[in-house]
Symmetry: C2
Subunit: 148 residues, 2 copies
């Protein structure tokens, strides 16, 4: 997968700049992300690192990665949070299937512009944009979807 030196370097720089330590656990979490699906949950991270890093540290590290701008928390309509890597990714929106849970992505540029415009008009300092559609994917429609 991706995760070139640049990404690790970016995290290290972020940590140093914030006066934080570069630890084995933090690097392990970052490395684990490269092996996970595009959208993953916290549990997948500490299962992948079973006995290397505790759940608490995974949560703590994901928050750091978020602050470093390398990871983004994504709300997929489920009870628990999901995350996605932001490095090597373009701006995009999500189509979430409420039946099977899968996620499709689409280019979010023009939708983002609408939000940016609204932010400007309100004197809002925008830091993140979320563009999502919920519904039922083609496969689940064909199979007779459960939820709408």
């Amino acid at each position: 997968m991706d995760l070139d030196v640049d990404v690790q370097e970016a995290f290290v720089n972020f940590l140093r700049g914030a006066g934080l330590n570069v630890t084995r656990a933090r690097l392990a979490v970052l490395r684990a992300l490269a092996e996970l699906p595009r959208h993953f949950e916290a549990a997948q991270v500490w299962m992948a690192l079973r006995s290397q890093v505790s759940p608490a540290t995974v949560y703590r590290t994901l928050e750091l990665l978020e602050r470093a701008g390398l990871v983004r928390k994504v709300e997929l309509g489920e009870a628990h949070a999901h995350y996605e890597r932001t490095f090597g990714r373009e701006d995009h929106g999500h189509l979430v299937c409420r039946s099977c849970g899968r996620v499709w992505e689409f280019s979010g540029g023009s939708a983002r512009r609408v939000v940016e415009e609204a932010a400007i008009q309100n004197g809002f300092a925008l830091s993140e944009v979320v563009i999502q559609g919920y519904g039922v994917c083609a496969d689940c429609q064909a199979a007779g979807a459960k939820r709408v």
Copy 2:
């Protein structure tokens, strides 16, 4: 506030159509919504109905109202869910201030169209669109915002 006969009627029709009972508690919840802010949390509902309706029933009823299309669950970046009435409201997006938590709305028509277009291309049956921006509002910027 709004809540004309039409809205209550819509809920009653939904309940009847689903073979569910029209109960005092369910109507009380619907009526309470008209007195609450545009964006509210479950706790505000059962505080407004203190000793009339239990928390469990509030959650159960909000879910029915959601299914009836009268209420929409909104994710505002906090640990607990928020809701908004959908009746008498136009399609809109949200600008959420991460510092004070207030929410601004803006017309979401054109952003929605982008999502609809993506749905069509993927054979997706779209049922809901979420357009949100997170950042810091003008007031909080002036006051020296906490989070970005």
